[in-house]
């Protein structure tokens, strides 16, 4: 244990692969894709998404669910799981020392279509007075603080599809700066609505594999043609490792390194030579006091867009001097839950360390010959690893790398 190690003591996952960490891990390891035609998207060009299995939010969260958008339902459910998993009791903790940091990539759209319709009709008196407080990016963090009695620093962090990872890194910094003793951090997103779906389709970012929705999310495959829109939330409980040990908490992994960089190149496309990814990796390794030879596995961003996977593959080869460790993209199963992705994948990286097993990349039939990576496919691979890196990238050129070590 290093002086600046941060312990992961609780995991909460609400993903298309399952409600709960065990359910999600099981589905991810089975390599079963969750992408399907989504009737709620209507007649948009690409009505495919990965949705969280039905769950009774009111039973978990109570009667106040009416005032929350779906991303908050997902975040709050994951937060409760994480706190339970950590063996913490919000009734007795020192709330002033509990921080909440939730990454959100895109503002919530639950109410936007009826609201714009009312606006066009001039029906101002019919507009919900809750539209603003429930859709702003901070709403999930705020509701978690209300529900759990967390009164320390709290915020939304937004770096597009790197948001969940950046939130975890920010929480690590808050703990190291002694601004809190417990941090509940991760990401949440619920973008399965016609507007984001149609707009991502207009960008050419979505897979259009309408004849085979299950096979639409196929990271690193030669036939990949875009990502699949997904929803989900992942929240971790983080504590300074010494504090976790002092209270006898079970530590799943140490969150040992955080590196972040910005391409400063294009508003949506990644930098063609992946320099920003490399810079984030270098910073994360230095933060963890490790070298590339210590990293036994990379949970890649691996969205399944032609550009991302090729550039990420090249960047990993550059970072690891031509010998990257085994890689997976769990997005083959979960799709791409935007701002939640980095946090869900960090949680999966923790579980990979614990199980010493790398989940497969679903739908990977034929590795793109332009990608020189050892991508785990078809079945989970038992693999000895002491440290794992999780990489996330976002529109706007945000790159975040997290390093997790065996406890």
């Amino acid at each position: 244990m290093r002086r600046d190690d941060i312990a992961v003591t609780g995991i909460g996952l609400v993903t298309p692969a399952g409600v709960g960490a065990d359910a999600t891990w099981g589905t991810v390891c089975s390599g079963t894709p969750t992408a399907a035609v989504d009737p709620s998207l209507g007649d948009v060009p690409v009505p495919i998404s990965c949705r969280v299995p039905p769950f009774d939010a009111q039973a978990v969260l109570g009667p106040q669910v009416w005032r929350m958008d779906r991303f908050t339902h997902l975040a709050l459910t994951a937060a409760r799981q994480a706190v339970d998993d950590a063996g913490l009791d919000p009734a007795t903790w020192d709330g002033a020392r509990v921080a909440v940091v939730v990454g959100v990539g895109y503002d919530s759209k639950d109410l936007v279509i009826p609201a714009v319709r009312k606006l066009i009709d001039g029906a101002y008196e019919k507009l919900s007075p809750l539209l603003i407080p429930r859709t702003t990016a901070n709403a999930a963090a705020a509701e978690i603080c209300i529900a759990l009695g967390a009164h320390g620093p709290s915020m939304a962090v937004t770096t597009a599809c790197a948001s969940g990872a950046t939130a975890l890194g920010t929480a690590r910094d808050l703990l190291l700066a002694n601004r809190c003793d417990i941090a509940l951090a991760g990401g949440a997103e619920a973008p399965c609505h016609p507007l984001p779906s149609a707009c991502f389709a207009q960008m050419g970012a979505l897979s259009t594999r309408l004849h085979d929705p299950e096979g639409a999310s196929r990271p690193f495959d030669v036939d990949r043609d875009g990502f699949v829109l997904a929803e989900g939330a992942g929240l971790l409980v983080l504590e300074r490792a010494a504090d976790a040990r002092a209270r006898g908490a079970r530590t799943s992994a140490h969150f040992s390194g955080y590196g972040t960089s910005t391409d400063g190149y294009h508003y949506a496309a990644p930098h063609p030579d992946g320099a920003g990814i490399e810079q984030a990796f270098t910073a994360a390794l230095a933060d963890a006091g490790l070298t590339t030879s210590d990293i036994g596995h990379v949970n890649a961003h691996g969205t399944g867009t032609p550009l991302n996977d090729r550039i990420e593959g090249a960047a990993l080869n550059h970072v690891f001097d031509g010998h990257p460790p085994p890689v997976t993209s769990t997005k083959g199963v979960t799709g791409h839950p935007l701002g939640a992705a980095g946090a869900i994948e960090a949680a999966l990286a923790v579980l990979s360390l614990g199980h010493q097993t790398i989940p497969p990349t679903a739908n990977l039939q034929n590795l793109d010959p332009d990608i020189a990576l050892d991508v785990v496919a078809k079945t989970p691979r038992p693999h000895r690893m002491d440290a794992v890196a999780s990489n996330s990238c976002g529109f706007g050129g945000h790159n975040t790398v997290l390093i997790l070590r065996r406890a």
């Binding site: 009111q58 009667p63 106040q64 669910v65 009416w66 005032r67 009826p114 008196e125 019919k126 507009l127 919900s128 007075p129 809750l130 407080p133």
Partner: protein
């Protein structure tokens, strides 16, 4: 109670998830856990889901100490007068 009271009650139980046994005519808006924004939301839902007219610019629902019976009466008053059958 009036049809409007029953409509208010159904929205309180179905949209706001307020337990049915606490929604009583003599209970105040505050008693059932609504705040001032939730009251405006209630009026929006009554318009959206039930097509009711609601009091606007009226002080009747500005206080959380109004009872549900009084609130329902204020909404009832805001409904347009029915078209007399003699015109039919």
């Amino acid at each position: 109670m009036t049809p409007v009271y029953e409509a208010v009650k159904s929205v309180l139980t179905s949209h706001f998830n307020i337990p049915e046994d606490t929604v009583r005519p003599e209970a105040t808006l505050e008693d059932i856990g609504l705040d001032s924004l939730a009251v405006v939301e209630l009026l929006c839902v009554l318009q959206d889901e039930l097509g009711l007219h609601v009091p606007t610019g009226d002080d009747a629902l500005k206080s959380l100490h109004v009872t549900l019976a009084q609130a329902a009466a204020a909404v009832d008053q805001a409904q347009p007068a029915p078209v007399p059958e003699t015109l039919a």
